[in-house]
């Protein structure tokens, strides 16, 4: 592995170093980056042996056997390894400034706000994720509000102007205890009735708030489309919710326990709204309902004993290790996520643990590439190694989700953002060289 990194590095340095010289020759392979590996996993189940991915201007323009790759272009190659599409984490907490900024507590319904405003784009979290092979994340809003703010989709690295893929994504709602269990925030000082004393304090209150908000949104929408609409004061939160009711904006509902999942489906049925289920700790016992209503699931992490913010919730005491396998067998669309885990290789290892518990390997790859892309509504842009897709890919030292495998190189938006074995400063030199090379 160390040797191959050296080979890789030498390839890089040589080819980028001489790029300017090659520029004057005006060859027709200028501005191209070619990634070569013994195996390419396209992401939809197809495997290409001894293949090459050709990248230009941040997009994939060709995927095929080595023999068809253009000659003389800059290249990244590994003598033994696998290339996969860049991984997508569909429910991440990357880059959040702090937990206080994550949730706006001044109202229960804040669907007009954006979690992007709580994200520090320069956070080191993104670098770490990129090093692990995760190239796109959906940053999920906090669960402290019943109807929370809107998520966003970000690239973890790559050209600065292209990092925000979706700035106002789906609206997040939360069923369960999260919106009322965090004691101090919901109680006024000295128990007085004031700004902080408010509903809900029970699950009944939570579902009531949700229904009330949807009713109000429906009324608001209807009022604004009738004559006299100008007299209706503008309400940004209801506006967002109205868009959800109209199906223009997606809805994501966090629910862990079985009855919370049922509540979510029931409520959405009432208003004719599609939803995506997040967390879904007990989704394994709701398969018929999820299937009937066609609910995609963003599930993760795999655990037997909960940690992090899950641990204190009191809702994570009946997990099933093979939830992913069960969802797969039922034919449901689902994505795997590492959520708030920050250990070494979190998302790829989550996929590995899902496989261990019974998920087929190909389905595991799909669950971190094409499936989250579909759930996020970006399936024509990310998640596959196909011409026309964003040049986000990972070169692994071996089979992707094994604990002994590591990413050798990570490319985001056509820009190499991580190469194993070199320092940050050396990488910046490479990136600059890549920009100055004839890719203009």
């Amino acid at each position: 592995m160390m040797n191959s990194s050296l080979v890789l590095l030498i390839c890089f340095v040589l080819l980028f170093g001489f790029a300017s010289a090659e520029a004057r020759e005006a060859s027709d392979s200028s501005g191209l980056l070619v990634v070569k590996a013994p195996k390419l996993y396209i992401g939809d189940g197809r495997v290409i042996e001894n293949g090459a991915v050709v990248i230009k201007d941040g997009k994939i323009i060709q995927v095929g056997p080595l023999s068809e790759a253009p000659q003389g272009a800059a290249e990244i190659k590994c003598p033994s390894g696998v290339v996969t599409p860049g991984l997508i984490d569909a429910s991440s907490t990357a880059g959040l400034i702090d937990k206080y900024s994550w949730t706006e507590h001044s109202s229960e319904v804040v669907s007009h706000l954006n979690v992007l405003d709580a994200v520090d784009m320069r956070s080191r979290d993104f670098e770490r994720l990129a090093r692990q092979g995760v190239t796109t994340v959906y940053v999920t809003p906090g669960s402290g509000s019943v109807v929370g703010c809107r998520g966003c989709v970000l690239k973890t690295a790559g050209p600065a102007g292209e990092r925000i893929v979706v700035s106002r994504g789906s609206v997040k709602a939360t069923m369960g205890r999260d919106s009322y269990r965090r004691g101090g925030w919901n109680r006024g000082p000295r128990g007085r009735v004031d700004f902080w004393t408010r509903r809900p304090t029970t699950r009944m209150g939570v579902t009531w708030i949700f229904r009330e908000a949807c009713f109000e949104a429906r009324k608001y929408r209807d009022a604004r489309t009738k004559p006299g609409a100008a007299t209706v004061p503008h309400d940004a939160a209801l506006e967002s919710l109205a868009a959800v009711l109209d199906g223009q904006v997606r809805l994501r509902v966090q629910a862990r326990k079985e009855h919370d999942i049922w509540s979510a489906i029931r409520l959405c049925k009432e208003f004719g709204v599609d939803l995506v289920l997040e967390e879904g700790t007990e989704a394994y016992s709701c398969v018929p309902e999820l299937k009937e209503y066609g609910v995609p699931v963003v599930y993760g992490p795999v655990f037997a004993y909960p940690t992090g913010f899950r641990a204190g919730s009191g809702e994570a005491n009946e997990p099933c290790l093979n939830t992913a396998g069960i969802l797969h067998e039922a034919g449901l669309l689902f994505a795997l996520t590492a959520s708030d885990l920050s250990g070494e290789g979190a998302l790829p290892h989550q996929a590995g643990f899902a496989v261990r518990a019974g998920l087929p390997r190909a389905a595991a790859l799909r669950a971190v590439t094409a499936a989250p892309a579909e759930i996020l509504g970006l399936s024509d842009r990310i998640g596959l190694l196909e011409p026309g897709y964003d040049a986000d890919l990972v070169l692994w030292s071996g089979e992707p989700f094994l604990p002994t495998t590591r990413p050798i190189a990570v490319v985001v938006g056509g820009e190499p953002v991580h190469v194993a074995g070199i320092t940050g400063a050396e990488l910046r030199v490479l990136q600059r060289a890549a920009k100055e090379s004839p890719e203009k």
Partner: protein, 488 residues
């Protein structure tokens, strides 16, 4: 003639039922037999070459022979595991599993022992079997100055005595300050403890000498210093009080010392202190992540180390904000220091598995051989069981795992666990695991009669004990209906 034939027939007839019963009971008996021949698709011996399609002969809990072409004697029960991989039971060299509170608030408590705190019914031991950990050194936590006695146990048995492999495995010390204390005070207490020990021993020696002279009817003619010297030969362990006994053993080098160092500077203090007080040669360093910086000093002592589970040291440059990550075991590997890898049972999923930790070693460039040793023979040697556990060689205990695949692959599960020649875990009968995997309640089978100690760890009849790791895990009795959602 007739009589002989008849006798022969009768004898054969009499034998038949026995034979058929025996045949039918093949597997059952194999589990209880004294002599077992294990046929395995692959045997990883650790200390020797791997063996394809080999055989392990086990007699009364010990491995007699391991090899490819081994002749199986007639009286051995054959267990066919030709589609499986046999691996030594993994060893956890330093853990606080199984005890709830890991430290007393008093700083110096060498008279305590984890014997009194281990809970054999703790879920941690059930998990240990499930995950393939067959030997654990249970010790006090790191929040102490001089802690109590550690113990090497197996995760089976109804009582701590049944679990014990080695009763007095070493004292716990810490060079890193206790909570609420600083290093100044920590080292001062350590020094004072040993100074007080010297004083106590001196007084004891002096009075022993005086008593001896009294017995002989002689009068004292020597000064106190000389008297102490003469008296020292007259005292033995049984004369010491509980406060000093273990300390004396430690100072004499008769007891292992597990010294926790949280920061690199603690290593310097620990080495100097251990050397001065005579137990450096029995010291095992239990290290925090920053201690990789003291690798040269540790190398010069020649002593082994035990690494904490995260194995990563992160530092942020205060000037530039750049983050550096160091994979700690690499520094020890490159220095040629013997290191054992430990697990974090409270981790969500990953760091709790020794095989995952070993795989991480490989991921970061350490060769497979070293990685495998770091979870088997190396920790076994460190805890003083290196001739019995951690490898599959003749003379070693028959404490092994039957795995569904290569130990370092994430798809591999522990199929069976054998401890001391007895099968103590079978995944097929692991109802809790089945429930975790399928999400469905499993019918609970009553525990079989007899030999409770063998089946104790996998019995589902006992209500699940709350794992101290997860306060949200309130599964009181899976056999009951699903618990209502936790209230306010």
């Amino acid at each position: 003639m007739h009589c002989l034939k008849l006798a022969f027939l009768v004898l054969t007839a009499a034998c038949l039922p026995v034979l058929s019963v025996t045949a039918a009971q093949d597997d059952e008996s194999a589990l209880r037999a004294d002599k077992i021949a294990l046929k395995a698709g692959r045997i990883i011996t650790v200390l020797d070459e791997e063996i394809e399609n080999g055989v392990i002969l086990i007699d009364r809990g010990k491995i007699v022979e391991v090899g490819k072409d081994v002749e199986i004697p007639y009286d051995y029960w054959v267990m066919d595991m030709s589609d499986k991989v046999v691996f030594p039971g993994m060893v956890e060299a330093h853990t606080t599993r199984g005890i709830d509170r890991t430290n007393e608030s008093l700083p110096v408590v060498p008279f305590l022992s984890v014997y009194d705190a281990i809970d054999p019914s703790n879920l941690a031991f059930e998990d240990a079997l499930r995950d393939g950990i067959t030997t654990l050194l249970i010790s006090q936590g790191n929040n102490t100055v001089i802690g109590g006695m550690s113990r090497v146990v197996r995760p089976i048995g109804r009582t701590v005595d049944e679990m014990t492999l080695k009763a007095e495995a070493g004292l716990k010390l810490s060079a890193s300050p206790m909570y609420g204390q600083d290093r100044l005070t920590q080292m001062a207490i350590l020094r004072e403890t040993f100074r007080e020990l010297e004083e106590y021993l001196g007084d004891l020696a002096e009075s022993a000498y005086e008593k001896d002279l009294e017995k002989k009817g002689e009068t004292i003619k020597l000064g106190p210093a000389a008297a102490r010297e003469k008296g020292a030969a007259l005292i033995s362990d049984k004369d010491l009080d509980f406060r000093h006994k273990n300390l004396k053993r430690l100072a004499d080098g008769r007891l292992a010392a597990y010294v926790y160092c949280g920061a690199a500077m603690d290593v310097y203090n620990a080495v100097a202190f251990a050397e001065e007080h005579g137990f450096l040669k029995r010291t095992v360093f239990v290290l925090g992540s920053e201690c990789y910086k003291a690798v040269d000093l540790i190398k010069s002592t020649g002593r082994p180390v035990i690494l904490e589970p995260s194995m990563i040291h992160r530092e942020t440059d205060p000037l530039t904000g750049d983050e550096t990550e160091v994979f700690v075991p690499l520094a020890f590997f490159e220095a040629g220091i013997s290191f054992a890898v430990t697990t974090e049972p409270r981790d969500v999923y990953g760091l709790r598995y020794p095989w995952y930790q070993a795989a991480r070693l490989m991921r970061n460039g350490i060769p497979r051989e070293t990685a495998i040793k770091a979870i088997t023979i190396t920790p076994a040697s460190i805890i003083g069981m290196g001739t019995r556990l951690g490898a599959l060689m003749p003379g070693y205990d028959a404490t092994l795992l039957v795995l569904t695949g290569d130990p370092l692959e994430s798809g591999t599960w522990v199929d069976k666990v054998m401890i001391g020649g007895r099968m103590v875990y079978e995944q097929e009968k692991d109802y809790r695991l089945k429930e975790l995997l399928t999400g469905q309640e499993q019918p609970v089978e009553p525990a079989p009669q007899g030999d409770q100690e063998e089946k104790a760890a996998e019995a589902e009849a006992a209500p699940g004990q709350a794992e101290s790791a997860s306060e949200a895990n309130k599964d009181a009795g899976k056999s009951q209906e699903k618990a209502p959602p936790s209230g306010q």
